[in-house]
């Protein structure tokens, strides 16, 4: 917008109001806002598990590995979600296999496999004649999302949420103490593959919103932010969903007015919330800890001696 428009907004409250609500009167914007909010919920829920399990790199790998799947699916006239899921999941299986068969460390295996898949996808996308816009795959295109893509996003998202809801306690146990899970006779292999397939499904869900390059931010940042804010998993889940949905909705909204990349706006906001949490989180914030440490300094000895409560003896 030019300076004359800014001046108009500044002097006329009515003009300012209509400017503010303008996106809500456009069909494609309303749709984009709903879809991004939904994607925000799905990613936020999964990101709690991914952060706790330490699978951020795996999220990056899966998101990049779906590219050939999307291209092949389009070429064959299949739903893109199907192709993306098969290749995303296939990449994780390949990573697990290569890791178990070689002496390489996991990060090296992940690095090799996902870039290999990604490069293969780029070659396919540029050689197979199709109407795929590579830019949209890489960076997302939520403002121009088609009805068909919305349906695929909804289906994969709902499947993801259902699986997590049904298996949430086992998945949490799997993240926390897989040895105990095994010791009580639970099938940890099944949990491993459940979490991987849910990860692949979530990537598919978020593909249209953030694009492949930024999906990993949606899969990691909300969980990481929430982890700094709470000591309880259910609280963490709430904080994660809240920051994620807020970022998705506001990011989509801002991207309209800024005429900037939607995925980019969302991830910038996610990162902003992360930095705020990192600095000011009530217990684990950097600044908060600095302040409490300073305050506690004079009677720090008292504090450390008081921690093991007097009644530690047991029978």
């Amino acid at each position: 917008m030019n300076s004359a428009e800014v001046l108009l907004l500044a002097i006329s409250p009515e003009a300012a109001w209509s400017w503010l609500i303008e996106p809500f009167q456009l069909g494609f914007m309303v749709r984009a806002l709903w879809v991004s909010a939904f994607v925000g919920v799905v990613c936020a829920v999964l990101s709690c598990y991914i952060t706790l399990k330490g699978w951020s790199l795996m999220g990056d790998a899966v998101s990049h590995a779906v590219v050939p799947g999307v291209v092949v699916a389009y070429a064959l006239g299949l739903p893109f979600a199907l192709g993306a899921f098969v290749f995303g999941f296939g990449a994780t299986v390949a990573i697990g296999y290569v890791k178990s068969q070689t002496r390489l460390k996991e990060d090296a295996v992940i690095g090799v496999i996902f870039t290999g898949f990604f490069a293969f996808g780029l070659v396919l996308a540029t050689k197979i004649p199709s109407n795929i816009d590579l830019f949209h795959i890489l960076f997302g295109n939520i403002l121009g999302i088609s009805d068909q893509d919305i349906i695929q996003t909804l289906i994969s998202g709902i499947i993801t949420l259902t699986i997590i809801l049904l298996r949430r306690k086992d998945l949490l146990l799997f993240c926390f103490d897989p040895n105990h899970a095994k010791a009580i006779g639970l099938n940890t292999n099944l949990m491993y593959y459940t979490l991987l397939s849910v990860l692949a499904l979530t990537t598919v869900t978020a593909l249209q919103t953030a694009g492949i390059v930024l999906v990993v931010a949606m899969l990691v940042t909300p969980g990481a932010t929430a982890y700094l804010l709470s000591d309880r998993f259910d609280h963490m889940l709430l904080f994660s969903v809240a920051t994620s949905v807020l970022s998705c909705v506001l990011g989509t909204y801002f991207s309209y007015h800024l005429d900037a990349s939607t995925g980019g706006c969302i991830v910038v906001l996610l990162t902003f919330f992360f930095v705020v949490a990192m600095l000011f989180a009530p217990k684990y914030g950097i600044l908060t800890q600095r302040r409490t440490r300073k305050k506690a300094l004079p009677d720090s000895f008292l504090a450390t001696n008081a921690t093991p409560a007097p009644s530690t003896e047991d029978s």
Binding site: L52, F176, N179, K182, I184, G185, D231, F233, E313
Partner: protein
């Protein structure tokens, strides 16, 4: 040393059979070699050996976390898998195996001991809650049940995981280095609890390198350095000579490869195994390989 244990007839007790297992890791390092032993039901058995001597590997084999390249482990006549499905084996992990920053409360950790009894959604029943509270009570952790696990002292952390094993009602309890990072008072209270559990018919296997406490509470010991060097009652087995052999012995990697080893029969045929000629304290301590192996074979008596 009282190892005549009171075993209530009503509830079954379980022993652990380790049947000639060998474990090789992917980097070709052999962690355990032809290890055989039987952990007697209703006893506290100490698993003693140097770091890197295969204690953790033996534990992992008993827990079914890794499958031996040879031999097998079972809980009396149950396979490990069956025993796990029946909630027979409870495991108290080493402190450094746990992510203490995990956003979970003590109560929820102990409740995880009950998951094997719950339906697919893991919704706790009244009984589950009662057992969790009783277990917390028994280890003196009730008042800390709402703490995040990282907010506990070393001893409290240990007791939280002990409570989980109690809540699981496993008849075989494995504790991996339970006394590291724990003060003397907590160590005593843990030992008291283990003695009680034994008298209730539990089989307790404790891996430790805290040699001082062994004879105060272990009925039996297993000495381990890449294979089982000796096993038996604490009085008979926990001797200076055996300890010297365990902690001063050769690492297995320096032994000749498997194919070039003399056969078991020839070892058995050899004249009675001699005690180690030179003392382990000596910097050039180098017991005769054949003697060491012969002793190993002799001491693998299964009772």
């Amino acid at each position: 040393m009282a190892f005549a244990t009171v075993q209530p007839k009503a509830s079954p007790t379980y022993g652990i059979s380790v049947d000639n297992i060998s474990v090789t890791y992917s980097n070709a390092r052999m962690a355990l070699y032809n290890a055989s032993c039987y952990v007697q039901p209703g006893t506290i058995t100490g698993l003693v050996g140097p770091n890197g001597g295969g204690k953790s590997t033996l534990f992992k084999s008993i827990m079914g976390f890794l499958s031996p390249s040879q031999g097998r482990v079972h809980i009396d006549n149950l396979s490990i898998e069956k025993a796990q499905k029946q909630q027979i084996i409870a495991y108290v992990p080493q402190a450094d195996e746990v992510d203490w920053n995990f956003p979970i409360s003590v109560f929820d950790v102990v409740m995880m001991g009950r998951y094997g009894y719950m339906n697919m959604l893991r919704i706790p029943s009244r009984k589950d809650r009662r057992l969790v509270m009783e277990s917390l009570e028994r280890v003196g952790m009730s008042e800390f049940r709402n703490r995040q696990i990282g907010e506990l002292s070393g001893g409290q952390k240990k007791r939280a995981f002990l409570a989980r094993a109690l809540a699981q009602e496993g008849k075989v309890i494995l504790l991996d280095e339970p006394f590291t990072g724990v003060d003397v008072k907590t160590e005593k209270s843990i030992i008291n609890l283990l003695l009680q559990l034994r008298d209730e018919g539990h089989t307790v296997l404790v891996s430790t390198h805290d040699l001082a406490s062994i004879s105060t509470f272990c009925d039996r010991v297993i000495l381990l350095n890449q294979t089982i060097l000796a096993a038996g009652t604490t009085d008979e087995t926990f001797t200076e000579e055996n300890l010297a052999m365990t902690f001063g012995g050769l690492p297995l990697s320096s032994l000749p490869s498997k194919s070039s080893l003399p056969s078991k029969n020839s070892l058995l045929a050899s004249p009675s195994a001699q005690p180690l000629a030179n003392q382990p304290g000596h910097p050039h301590f180098n017991p005769d390989k054949t003697t060491l192996l012969a002793q190993t074979d002799r001491m693998q008596t299964r009772e």
